[in-house]
């Protein structure tokens, strides 16, 4: 059993564009399962990950209605991570870059993630044991 650490993730991708967002959430899930506190700084398109307005849809190609399709929504995954952290007594501090939220109209977010600024990222970096940047690639 490793000692408890605090890990910071800086994310940049919006949902439904690449596998990087899912990979990031899988890493956050694993960190929580291993008993670590997690900070997230959602920058640029990543502020859409926790947007409360995401809606599941039917899929005619799959021949499924919305209920059957159970279309993945990153807001639901983040809510599940939030709840998992709470159940384990861990901290998942998810900060959306406020300017990035404004320019995209990505409010409100689900309960849990909060509005912040690069000052939060600076503090996260200082206070955590390590930081992983998962940027938008070319």
């Amino acid at each position: 059993m490793t000692s408890q650490q605090t890990l910071t993730f800086a994310l940049m991708d919006p949902p439904f564009e690449s596998a990087r967002s899912t990979t990031a959430l899988r890493l956050i899930d694993l960190a929580l399962r291993r008993g670590h506190h997690v900070n997230v700084f959602a920058y640029e398109g990543a502020v859409s990950l926790a947007f409360a307005g995401q809606k599941a849809h039917a899929n005619a190609v799959h021949g499924r209605d919305p209920l059957e399709e159970d279309h993945p929504l990153t807001r639901d995954w983040i809510a599940a991570l939030r709840d998992a952290a709470h159940e384990r007594g861990l901290r998942l501090d998810w900060v959306n870059c406020g300017l990035c939220v404004d320019e995209r109209g990505m409010e409100p977010s689900i309960t849990g993630p909060r509005r912040g600024s690069p000052t939060d990222l600076a503090r996260f970096i200082e206070e955590s044991d390590n930081t992983l940047v998962i940027p938008t690639g070319d």
């Binding site: 920058y43 640029e44 600024s117 000052t119 990222l121 600076a122 970096i125 940047v133 940027p135 938008t136």
Partner: protein
């Protein structure tokens, strides 16, 4: 003592017209303003950020003329003024025909072979 960070920008000209800057160079400014100790390394196409002569034509759609085109070289100059060291990968500049004399004063060339030594000076390296 605060952690010393190196930010690496490689994905260049990503939304620079929409953001009126490079989002990671902007973030470096914001983090520096928040008290972070950091430096910047430009590699890949981002080495062109330092070219003094680059000009961005004002963007216009219909009658809507966009003000404040990005000034990437100017943003690097402003970082230098904040005592942020700005490095560029010299092989990437050479591949693109960019001579050191084309670049804003104060940018520091670093060879690919010396990157490990550069990285060793920092607590964390953030590659964007």
């Amino acid at each position: 003592m605060s952690k010393k960070l190196l930010h690496i920008v490689e994905s260049a000209y990503r939304a620079t017209l929409e953001e009126q800057d490079d989002p990671v160079v902007w973030l470096c400014h914001a983090l520096r303003g928040a008290g972070a100790e950091l430096d910047l390394l430009l590699q890949g196409n981002a080495v062109a950020y330092g070219v003094r002569a680059q000009q961005v034509a004002p963007l216009q759609f219909g009658s809507r003329r966009q003000q404040h085109a990005p000034d990437l070289a100017g943003d690097l100059n402003a970082l230098l003024a904040k005592r942020v060291a700005c490095f560029y990968l010299e092989e990437d500049a050479a591949e693109r025909g960019i001579d050191a004399s084309d670049l804003v004063e104060g940018l520091v060339p670093v060879s690919r072979a010396k990157l490990p030594m550069l990285f060793a000076h920092y607590h964390q390296v953030h590659r964007w």
